[in-house]
C-alpha cells in the first residue's frame, strides 16, 4: 500500500480509531506533531532473544513441548529499552534449538513495564522444533535422520494418544449415560436387581501429548528450525505427512529448495539475513547466502525477517536487517512488510499489530527519515498510544 502523505492518525484508548488525510481532530486531543517525519507501525523481531538468558533457552530433554517460554523470562534486562528505542515494539521469543521439540513461544510488547503479564500480547504462538541443529558444531547425516524420526515418532505417538483419548471419551460418555439410567432405575425401584455399568479404564492425560495434539489439529503451528536444505526438506516431509501448519524457522539454505517451500505454502521466519549476526564459522551457516531472503520472497513465499542475533540487544537492528535484505535484492516494500505485517500474520497477531489500520493497537514509530535509510533516527515510539521512547539528544 502506498504511504499516506500529510496524514493524521487518531488514537483512542490505545487503539487507532481513524487515519487518513482529512481527519478531524477534537480540541481535547493530545497532539503529537510529526509533520515532516515518517510514521510506521511498530516493528517486530520474530527471532528475538531478549529477556532470555542463553543457558536457560534449552531443556535437556529432547521432547518437551509442554514447556512455555513465558515461565523462563527475565523481564528486567537492561537491553530492552534500547530495543524499543529503535522502533521495535514487539518481539517473538521461542525456546532454543537443543531440544528436538522445545515448547511454546510468545509475542511480547516492549512497553517497558518489566512485567511479563503486561507485556504479553499472545502466548502459545507456535511449538518450537529443530532438525539438524548441532550445539557442538558437529553433525552427521545419521544424527539428522534421528532428529527427523524422533519428531515423527512423537507426532505418531500423539496420534495414537488422540485416538485413545477419543475412544476413552466415547466410552466414558456411554458409561455416564448408562450410569445415569442405572441410578434412575435404582432410585425408582431400589429393590430391583440391575446390572451396574462397568466404569471404563482410567485415562491418564499427558501434558506433552496434549500440546502436540493441538499441533496436529492445527490449533497451534509447528515452528521447525532447519538450516540446511536436507533438514528443510525433512521438515516439509513432516508437514506433508501430518498436515500441521508449518513455520520454517531460520531456513538458511532455503534458497536451494525455494520451489519446494513455495509449493507447500509454508511460511518462513528467515534469519539472520547477514552472517554478521552469527559466530562464524558454524556448520549451519556454511552455505549462508545473503540473497536468501530475496530469492525466497521472489517465489511468493510468505516471509518474515528475524534478526536472530547473538543476544538480546541485537533485536534493535530490525530495520537494518530489512535494509540488508534490500541490498541483496529483496523488494523494498516486501522487506518493510517482512518486519511488520508479515511476522504479525505468521505469528497470528495481525488482528492487533503489524500495520496502521483502524481498530489495531496504536503501536507507532516516528522516524526522521525513511525506515530503510540506515541513518534515519527514531524520534518517538508509542505502544497502545503511550509514549515509551522519545529522543532527547539532538546529536
Amino acid at each position: 500500500m502506498p504511504p499516506i502523505e500529510n496524514g493524521t492518525i487518531l488514537i483512542k484508548d490505545g487503539k487507532i480509531t481513524a487515519l487518513g488525510q482529512n481527519i478531524a481532530v477534537g480540541a481535547d486531543a493530545r497532539l503529537i506533531d510529526a509533520s515532516g517525519k515518517f510514521v510506521m507501525p511498530g516493528m517486530i523481531d520474530a527471532q528475538s532473544r531478549l529477556f532470555v538468558i542463553d543457558s536457560e533457552l534449552n531443556e535437556s530433554r529432547s521432547i518437551a513441548p509442554e514447556l512455555n517460554i513465558l515461565d523462563g523470562l527475565d523481564p528486567f534486562v537492561k537491553e530492552a529499552p534500547e530495543v524499543a528505542a529503535q522502533g521495535v515494539t514487539a518481539i517473538y521469543i521461542s525456546p532454543g534449538s537443543h531440544s528436538l521439540i522445545g515448547g511454546s513461544g510468545a509475542v511480547l510488547k516492549l512497553d517497558g513495564s518489566m512485567d511479563v503479564g503486561k507485556m504479553l500480547l499472545k502466548g502459545d504462538i507456535a511449538i518450537k522444533a529443530a532438525i539438524g541443529v548441532s550445539s557442538n558444531n558437529e553433525s552427521s547425516s545419521l544424527g539428522r535422520l534421528a532428529n527427523y524420526s524422533s519428531i515423527r515418532e512423537a507426532l505418531l505417538e500423539t496420534k495414537i494418544y488422540m485416538h485413545n483419548k477419543e475412544k476413552h471419551e466415547r466410552e466414558q460418555a456411554e458409561y455416564n449415560k448408562k450410569k445415569a439410567e442405572y441410578d434412575k432405575k435404582k432410585k425408582a425401584r431400589p429393590t430391583e436387581k440391575a446390572e451396574k455399568p462397568k466404569r471404563p479404564a482410567r485415562f491418564r492425560p499427558n501434558p506433552a501429548r496434549e500440546v502436540l495434539a493441538k499441533v496436529l489439529s492445527k490449533e497451534i503451528p509447528l515452528q521447525i528450525e532447519a538450516h540446511r536444505a536436507t533438514d528443510i526438506l525433512n521438515a516439509l516431509r513432516l508437514a506433508d505427512e501430518f498436515g500441521f501448519t508449518l513455520i520454517l524457522d531460520k531456513c538458511t539454505e532455503g534458497y536451494l529448495v525455494a520451489e519446494e517451500i513455495a509449493r507447500r505454502k509454508a511460511t518462513v521466519i528467515l534469519g539472520p539475513v547477514s552472517a554478521s549476526f552469527v559466530d562464524m564459522p558454524r556448520l549451519e551457516y556454511r552455505n549462508h547466502d545473503i540473497r536468501n531472503a530475496a530469492i525466497l520472497s521472489e517465489k511468493g513465499i510468505k516471509l518474515a525477517l528475524g534478526v536472530s542475533g547473538r543476544d538480546g540487544a541485537s533485536s534493535k537492528f530490525v530495520a537494518l536487517t530489512a535494509a540488508m535484505a534490500v541490498a541483496s535484492g529483496m523488494d523494498r516494500d516486501l522487506a518493510l512488510r517482512a518486519v511488520t505485517l508479515t511476522p504479525a500474520e505468521i505469528l497470528g497477531v495481525a488482528d492487533r499489530i503489524g500495520s496502521l489500520k483502524v481498530g489495531k493497537d496504536a503501536d507507532i514509530v516516528i522516524l526522521s527519515g525513511h525506515p530503510l535509510d540506515s541513518l534515519s533516527r527514531v524520534e518517538m515510539v508509542l505502544i497502545e498510544g503511550k509514549t515509551v521512547f522519545e529522543r532527547k539528544d539532538q546529536q
Partner: protein, 390 residues
C-alpha cells in the same frame, strides 16, 4: 618529461588499437558515474574517471573520453575508492588460531604473515565482493611481540605488485589474550616487562650478531618501522601509551575498543586507531565509542578482523558508527583515505585522484546505506568482481 608522458600515451593508444583488433583488453578505461566519492576532493555528480594503465589519469565533470577507451557506463551508480581493511586475518587458514600466532615462543618479530597467506582462499573472494581491495594482513594478539603484518591488494592473478608492503611493521599485544599459562609471560606486569626488555635489547644491540627478531625490533626502536599495538581496554591502552612514550615509537593502536574513555590522551600523542568491527549485538554505549574517538580528532580506520567476524562488516561498521554519531564524511574516510594514511600507502591508495591506483568500488547507492550493495570491484583498472546478474 611532459613530452615523454605524451609519447607513452600515444604508444599506449596505438597498442590499444592493436589489442582491440586482436581481442585483448584495452588499457584505457572510462567510467561514467552518477556520483564519484573522491574522498579528498568532494563528491562529483555525473562525472567521469579515466583510467590509464591501471592508474587514475583524470577525474572530473566535463572530461572527454579518449577514443578507443573502454567505457563503463555507471551513470546511475556510485563510485568510491576501494575499501581498505586495516586489520584482518583472511586467507590464512580455517583454523585461524593455528596460523595466526606462535604459541610456543612469546617473541616472533621475524615471523612474516605473508608466508601463510593463500590468496585463493574463499574468504579473500568474500572480502573482494564486499568492496575491500586492500587489506593489512596481520598476526593475532597472542604474542607479546608478534610477527610482521603485510599490506596487500586482494588481486594476485595478473598484477605482480599486489604486495604493497611485506614488512609493514611489527605487532605487539598488551591484551590479556597474550598471557598463557604454559609459557611466559603469565601476568600483565610480566607482559609489559617482556616487551620492554625486548625493546631495550634491540636498542642496546650494536654489533649485530645473527638475531633476526632483534634486527627487526631495532628498526622499531629507531622509529623506522611502525609498531602496531593491540590494546583494547583502558588500562591496556594506557600501558601501550607508556611504552610508546618511553621508546618514542612510531605506533598505531589496534582494537582500541574503549579508547573513547581516554580519547584526549590518544589525540595528544597523535596515535592513530585501528578500530574493531562494530557488532550487531552491541549495546548503545559501545556503538557510540568509534564516533567519540574519531570525532575528537584521532585518525581512525576500521578493521574487520575477519574471518572470525563476517567480512561484510567493514562497511557495516562505518554505517553503524555513523548511525551512532560518527561524522559521515569521517566514516567514509575511515574506510579509505584515513586507512591508507595509517598504513602508509596513501601515495597509491585511498582516494580517487590523479596518479593513484585505479582501485574502485561501484555501488548501486550511497556507500553509507545498508540498502546499497557492491556491484563491481576494480583493482589496477581491471574488473576483479562483478555481482551476479549485473
Amino acid at each position: 618529461m611532459k613530452k615523454g608522458r605524451f609519447l607513452s600515451f600515444l604508444i599506449i593508444l596505438s597498442s590499444i588499437f592493436c589489442l582491440s583488433s586482436s581481442g585483448g583488453e584495452p588499457q584505457v578505461l572510462a567510467i561514467r558515474a552518477g556520483k564519484i566519492w573522491t574522498l579528498t576532493d568532494g563528491v562529483i555528480t555525473n562525472g567521469v574517471v579515466i583510467v590509464n594503465n591501471g592508474k587514475i589519469k583524470t577525474v572530473g565533470e566535463n572530461i572527454d573520453v579518449p577514443e578507443g577507451a573502454k567505457v563503463l557506463d555507471m551513470s546511475d551508480k556510485n563510485v568510491m575508492p576501494g575499501l581498505i581493511d586495516a586489520h584482518c586475518h583472511i586467507g590464512l587458514s580455517l583454523d585461524i588460531l593455528a596460523e595466526m600466532d606462535e604459541t610456543v615462543a612469546a617473541v616472533a618479530a621475524d615471523m612474516q604473515i605473508l608466508d601463510a597467506f593463500n590468496p585463493q582462499a574463499d574468504d579473500v573472494r568474500k572480502a573482494l565482493s564486499s568492496g575491500v581491495t586492500t587489506v593489512m594482513l596481520a598476526p593475532g594478539y597472542r604474542n607479546p611481540v608478534g610477527g610482521q603484518p603485510a599490506v596487500v591488494k586482494l588481486y594476485t592473478s595478473k598484477a605482480d605488485d599486489w604486495v604493497l608492503k611485506r614488512t609493514a611493521g611489527v605487532e605487539f599485544s598488551l591484551m590479556n589474550q597474550a598471557l598463557m599459562f604454559d609459557r611466559e609471560p603469565t601476568s600483565r606486569t610480566g607482559l609489559v616487562a617482556l616487551i620492554k626488555e625486548e625493546l631495550d635489547q634491540a636498542k642496546a644491540d650494536k654489533d649485530g650478531g645473527f638475531n633476526p627478531p632483534r634486527e627487526v625490533l631495532k628498526r622499531v626502536v629507531d622509529a623506522n618501522l611502525p609498531a602496531y599495538i593491540w590494546a583494547h581496554t583502558v588500562d591496556e591502552i594506557a600501558s601501550a601509551m607508556a611504552i610508546v612514550d618511553e621508546y618514542k615509537l612510531n605506533a598505531v593502536l589496534v582494537a582500541a575498543g574503549q579508547g573513547d574513555e581516554i580519547t584526549d590522551m590518544i589525540a595528544k600523542r597523535n596515535l592513530p586507531v585501528i578500530y574493531p568491527p562494530l557488532l550487531l549485538s552491541s549495546r548503545d554505549k559501545d556503538l557510540k565509542r568509534a564516533g567519540r574517538i574519531a570525532n575528537s580528532g584521532v585518525k581512525l580506520a576500521f578493521a574487520s578482523l575477519g574471518p572470525k567476524t563476517e567480512l561484510y562488516d567493514l562497511r557495516t561498521s562505518a554505517i553503524l558508527a555513523a548511525k551512532y554519531g560518527l561524522d559521515k564524511e569521517t566514516a567514509l574516510k575511515s574506510l579509505t583515505i584515513n586507512a591508507a594514511e595509517i598504513l602508509g600507502v596513501a601515495d597509491r591508495l585511498g582516494s580517487i585522484s590523479e596518479g593513484k591506483d585505479a582501485d574502485l568500488v561501484i555501488l548501486n547507492g550511497d556507500p553509507l546505506q545498508l540498502t546499497s550493495s557492491v556491484e563491481v570491484v576494480i583493482i589496477n583498472g581491471n574488473i576483479v568482481y562483478q555481482r551476479q546478474g549485473e
